[in-house]
Symmetry: C2
Subunit: 337 residues, 2 copies
């Protein structure tokens, strides 16, 4: 019926243990033996039984990807990260499990414990915004579960992948400055998300570098949602000195800003330049198409998972890899009127 390790052993005239060694890339197997065993495995299309492996050994060959489905960032973003993580897991013959963790509510630590007790993942991949939630990280360390993060805020000792969010925000504001804008507003994302802080910092840095003193009226709080973008924009348009450009901390809020501009009879980009962050599919579908920052989400998921897997498989300590962003200049930004 099913080909077992023992069958391979018999075919290769070695003991089961030796086949196990080859299967797990262990040392102390002669090249000749290794080749013979690999050939037998190949010939018999041998598939190790994951349950038997994890029962007998100490590893589960399972990676869990954790995400927050409450303050959900764009689902496209998560879906792409998930695809990347999955790809990396497949390459290393690990399986992957996804776990939503509502950060609101106090039972999420219990849910994390349940995950660990029930499924024994060898490691987890953390996605924004739960990359920096201290109680969660603490629990993972207590439970001795290694993790890698996608775009963490705290970067000391963490492995995974980052993007230079601050630099990206700076680049987009510099783009607006180059178009002659001076009254540039910023709509902030959810306050305690790392992304919000870096993007705000980039905005401030670019403005300061251009010698423009910060006008508190031009920096308004949003919450990463379309509706919060609308609200923020209304606030901005009600100012006596309206901004000529708005940089929203994500595309959804930028869309809200464009909507509100319609309400106020402002033409984008003629009367108002708008830009976002993330390059969701939406950005290209808007009219006018949105100037924004693109990040390689899928790639980032893959890199984070790869770092984790390197660590799990004892291939060095794992790193925090930085990936490049790209400024997508489209039709929602133009020279100052």
């Amino acid at each position: 019926m099913r080909v077992r390790l023992e069958d391979v052993a018999r075919a290769a005239s070695v003991s089961p243990k030796t086949v196990s060694r080859v299967l797990n890339d262990e040392a102390n197997v002669s090249d000749a033996t290794r080749k013979r065993v690999l050939a037998a495995m190949e010939a018999m299309d041998y598939r190790p039984h994951p349950s038997a492996r994890s029962l007998a050994g100490s590893r589960s060959f399972l990676v869990a990807m954790l995400y927050d489905n409450n303050d959900n960032p764009a689902s496209t973003y998560l879906a792409e990260i998930q695809d990347g993580v999955l790809e990396a897991c497949d390459e290393h013959r690990y399986s992957m499990m996804v776990r939503p963790l509502r950060m609101r509510g106090d039972d999420f630590i219990r849910r994390l414990d349940t995950l660990i007790s029930d499924h024994h993942p060898d490691g987890v991949v953390l996605t924004p915004p739960i990359t920096d939630y201290a109680p969660l990280l603490k629990r993972l360390r207590e439970r001795n579960v290694p993790y890698a993060s996608v775009s963490p805020m705290q970067r000391n000792g963490v492995i995974g992948v980052t993007m230079d969010e601050q630099g990206a925000a700076r680049a987009i504001v510099e783009h607006l400055l180059a178009l002659g804008h001076r009254r540039i507003a910023h709509v902030i994302g959810i306050a305690d998300h790392g992304a919000s802080r870096w993007r705000l910092a980039g905005y401030r840095e670019a403005m300061a570098a251009a010698g423009l003193p910060e006008d508190p009226a031009l920096v308004v709080q949003g919450a990463f949602t379309f509706g919060s973008g609308v609200a923020a924009a209304r606030e901005l348009f009600a100012l006596e000195q309206r901004p000529t450009a708005v940089f929203a901390a994500n595309d959804d809020m930028a869309t809200g800003v464009m909507w509100a501009a319609g309400e106020y009879g402002l033409k984008v980009p003629h009367d108002l330049s708008v830009c976002g962050f993330d390059d969701t599919p939406l950005a290209r579908q808007l009219w006018p198409a949105l100037t924004t920052i693109q990040q390689p989400s899928r790639e980032m998921g893959k890199i984070a998972a790869t770092q984790l897997l390197n660590l799990l498989r004892g291939r060095g300590p794992g790193q925090l890899v930085q990936v490049p962003f790209s400024l997508q200049i489209r039709d929602s930004t133009a020279r100052v009127p």
Copy 2:
């Protein structure tokens, strides 16, 4: 260290086998014993080891969700279905695995085989458009892997969940008819997707019921993408007798139609009514907001998974449940000019 079944057995003064019976809801355990065992489990916070269970028994307690990441429908839709499936699996203490399967390319049957051989899922959940791909269904039956589908086209003997897509399409076209429209165009989705066919059928049915002969020029092929919506709309707008309303088979194409309307100087909804299908978040964020059909995706994922799990757990044969749609009338449709 870890609490094992044996520990629970000792605490409840029964044999391990009896604890196993309770754990698996088997018959032939007296109520008194069952209660005692359950109490012990609870008190000791016992967690069965999934690997041990699946190694010893014949089940893996694993459900795989298959999706096509090539002709990817809106990722939001899939993400919601995934959340629903996951919720159902959690409730039944099954674990879930997601598997992208590129339908393009001929290796996807091999990828399916790999999935089954490597992970031994007890069952799979199929999402559009792979609910009706014959070779895949055949292979699943050959391999004896039960499946449930979300919105399958072939409905005989299949379990899972459906929505009355044809009825929904009819409803949205009737809405346009009620607004006085007569020249109503339809942009079709990818030809071999079930969704495309049902939606086209609903369009035809409503038009016929209103006594309007079908004008082939008003029915154009799209591919579910924004770009294909733009192309289709350009074709329609170039007609001598332009349509006064366009029903696109999904929101992305409807967005494309609105974009093209902008190019042609047509104001939506004043000069042209547009509606879509799916109610993606995008629909609410457009300006004007899009009239469309909402389906309870998350709920649908949960229902499909629940039917599968009922089957797997021997609770009857599983059904094909129909869920209601809801017509979301927003600002992109208005009385005929």
